[in-house]
């Protein structure tokens, strides 16, 4: 320790390559996504022509290569960055005040996620409540004519129970870890992850059996748009949450986290409860109240 050593508990992070690497990945991901979506509309000629579709004029999609490279870099960044955080935590740099900061950070991140879902619910309610002003008579009711909605008391109810149950099992895992029962914590997390996978699988079954389409060209309409995008983004969050919990399980398995310090697990649990609450809103409004 030098004379200038810090006399406070904050964590002054060492310089890190991950922000710039992640930004480059995000840039490539975005350019690659546009090249993919617009089927060679981007860089059809010139030095970047390799982004051009798989070579067939009129293909619906271009090459996904750029997107894959960008995505791989983003994933690499996540492993590197969060791996560094685990190392820093193990080095004792996450003092109580730093730990509190991460709690603020996670709560605020979830708050922004809530606002993201507000956009999708807003869209859903706009079309659900103010449907009578639609020009097309088929759309002047909600759900629109010809849309066969799900019976909420079959798979959707099942999914509600699966998620609610998983909310209890993640709490079980958390309490077990607090009492230094690592075996119980691992078991609780394992059950939670399995329930998460079950939810995703059931949602997949439901999508396959849906009585309405997604895309306009396939005969879809605003119901399919709002339904699939709202439940789809929820589903994506379930998958992310499942991965988050699975990583916590791996960390427990390899000796990480302790009865006193396990904010990663708590953050995953908070995230999981957030996903759960979004589902309750989806279930209440999209499935039950506005069923056909």
């Amino acid at each position: 320790m030098s004379a200038h050593a810090a006399n406070h508990d904050y964590h002054l992070v060492d310089p890190s390559p991950w922000p710039i690497v992640g930004s480059i990945g995000a840039f490539l991901l975005a350019v690659g996504a546009v090249a993919y979506m617009t089927a060679g509309g981007l860089f059809a000629e010139g030095p970047l022509a390799f982004f051009y579709g798989d070579g067939v004029e009129g293909d619906a999609r271009g090459t996904s290569m750029g997107m894959m490279i960008g995505f791989a870099i983003v994933i690499w960044t996540m492993f590197g960055w969060w791996g560094d955080m685990i190392k820093e935590s193990n080095a004792g740099l996450h003092t109580p005040v730093v730990d509190l900061g991460m709690r603020y950070g996670m709560i605020l991140f979830i708050a922004s996620e809530v606002m993201f879902f507000v956009a999708w619910f807003w869209s859903f309610f706009e079309y659900a409540i103010f449907h009578e002003v639609r020009l097309d008579p088929g759309m002047a009711m909600f759900p629109p004519t010809g849309v066969e909605t799900f019976d909420p008391w079959h798979i959707p109810l099942m999914n509600t129970l699966v998620l609610l149950l998983s909310g209890t099992t993640v709490t079980w895992a958390h309490h077990a870890l607090q009492h230094d029962d690592r075996k119980g914590a691992k078991l609780g997390l394992l059950v939670t992850v399995i329930l998460g996978v079950c939810f995703t699988a059931l949602q997949g079954v439901e999508y396959a059996e849906a009585g309405f389409e997604f895309a306009l060209a396939d005969g879809g309409n605003i119901y399919g748009s709002t339904f699939y995008m709202a439940t789809g983004f929820h589903g994506a969050h379930v998958i992310i949450g499942t991965i988050f919990l699975f990583i916590c399980l791996l960390r427990l398995q390899f000796g990480g986290m302790s009865a006193k310090k396990h904010f990663g697990l708590e953050a995953a649990a908070w995230y999981w409860h957030f996903v759960d609450v979004v589902w309750l809103f989806l279930f209440s409004f999209v499935y039950v109240i506005y069923q056909g």
Binding site: M1, S2, A5, A6, N7, Y10, L12, V13, D14, P15, S16, P17, W18, P19, I20, G22, S23, I24, A26, F27, A30, V31, A33, V34, A35, M37, T38, G41, L42, F43, L100, G101, Y104, G105, L108, S112, V114, M115, F116, V118, A119, S123, E126, Y127, D136, G138, M139, P144, F214, A215, L216, A217, D218, G220, N221, I222, G224, S225, T226, M229
Partner: protein, 546 residues
Amino acid sequence: MSADSATHDDHTPSLWDWKRWVYSTNHKDIGTMYLIFAIFAGVIGGAMSGMIRLELAEPGLQVFNDSFKLFGMLEMGDSHNYNVMVTMHGLIMIFFMVMPAMIGGFGNWFVPLQIGAPDMAFPRMNNISFWLLPAAFGLAFMSMFVGGPAGGEGFGGGWVLYPPLSGLTGHPGPAMDLLILSLHLAGISSILGAINFITTIFNMRAPGMTMHKMPLFVWSILVTVFLLLLSLPVLAGALTMLLTDRNFGTSFFEPAGGGDPIMFQHLFWFFGHPEVYILILPGFGIISHIVSTFSKKPVFGYLGMAYAMVSIGVIGFLVWAHHMYTVGMPVDLKAYFVAATMVIAVPTGIKIFSWIATMWGGSITYRTPMMWAIGFIFLFTVGGVTGVVLANAGVDAALHDTYYVVAHFHYVLSLGAVFAIFAGWYFWFEKIFGVKYNSLLARLQFLFFFVGANVIFFPQHFLGLNGMQRRVPDYADGFANWNEISSWGYAIMGVGMIIFFLILIEAMMSRRKGEANPWGEGATTLEWTLSSPPPFHQFSTLPKIK
């Protein structure tokens, strides 16, 4: 603390060490990068407004036609390209100039300094907030050179991105998709920044600094980043809907599938209205400090000033549809939005009057930042009262989408936010760079800016009242005189911009050593207790606030 991080606390890395900047986890270095990025983007956005003023200098199509070449080489294309210029000027100035300068630049530099913290709460995340901006800017810049509408390049639908113009019917090419993803990245950058600032302000205030003792600039950033945190995700949702409508066949804004383009406007302005407060609120904070410093008095009504910003932020979420009076909404709804919008004039008035009351009876010195600050108060007030005019749905039916609106928002932004940025720049220049600027040149720049900006934008009120439309490159001959004057105003402001760069070069070459506190007893916040520039890591021992 590990030996590794103790050594890096010790010395300041060399300015020429590229890793110092690219891998930075230092709030001051990141703030400096933000400021440089904002200058860079501001020059590009400002050049675009030059193209706009050149075209509008006289009736007809002079610049944006197939035969004109700028400087004999640069083809400007047809009138679609004029709209691309207007669109990109708006987006660049908002997302890549004002926000990076105010929040990224001054926020990063002075929030930790003013609350007595050694750095931001998440120093590494701070850096990705910055580095996502060049990525986003790159995507936006690329969008200008790839297919937009049939036969054209770039997106020309205005910064508001309304469908169907931003949908497949209006712009089938990939330009719009690039722009959507650009705004996604800029949005992620701002959300991460917002999380960082809120955590820093809540968790890292020096011992004794309660919320009610926090400097007003910190309050202004706190309110601003809350607006960012809660409004940007809604924009992200709207942009994603646009993206899936364009590429995956959804019907959110597609009437054929029961969707409604007006829905986009609601989602956009639910973000967009808080966004305009995001642009101006940090300026309020900067101005409060400057007015108080150069009046040698504490700010009049400190708590009122803080809670005025909080209430502007809260009410800012409840007024979005006043941007949409002409879409055919019910009259009751218009009445609500008129009333709610008028309410915002109350806290805004509190701020204006409190600044004046701060000066009242003070020992005022007209140093350079004070001139910019007083310029701000005057010009922002002009923009504020035209805002009250536009808040009326009945009046807006006539003024919607005219140059009156353009004049209004440039008075609050180009003359409000930008003057606040320059006020802050000359207030903190010495602190940031450790050298003094030439204050005579800086006053000259202020003179050119003040005159120039007023000559550009004041006539636009008359043009708008006479019915001149926004976003059209040509106009009736009757509008010619005021347009010509407006374009001359641009030339005056352009001279001011040249002086700005002369000031930078002059300060860099003469290297007059900066003082810790050049402003004397009026400057009471913590950044003035440190050297100029401050040590690489300040407050190793936290300051105690009585």
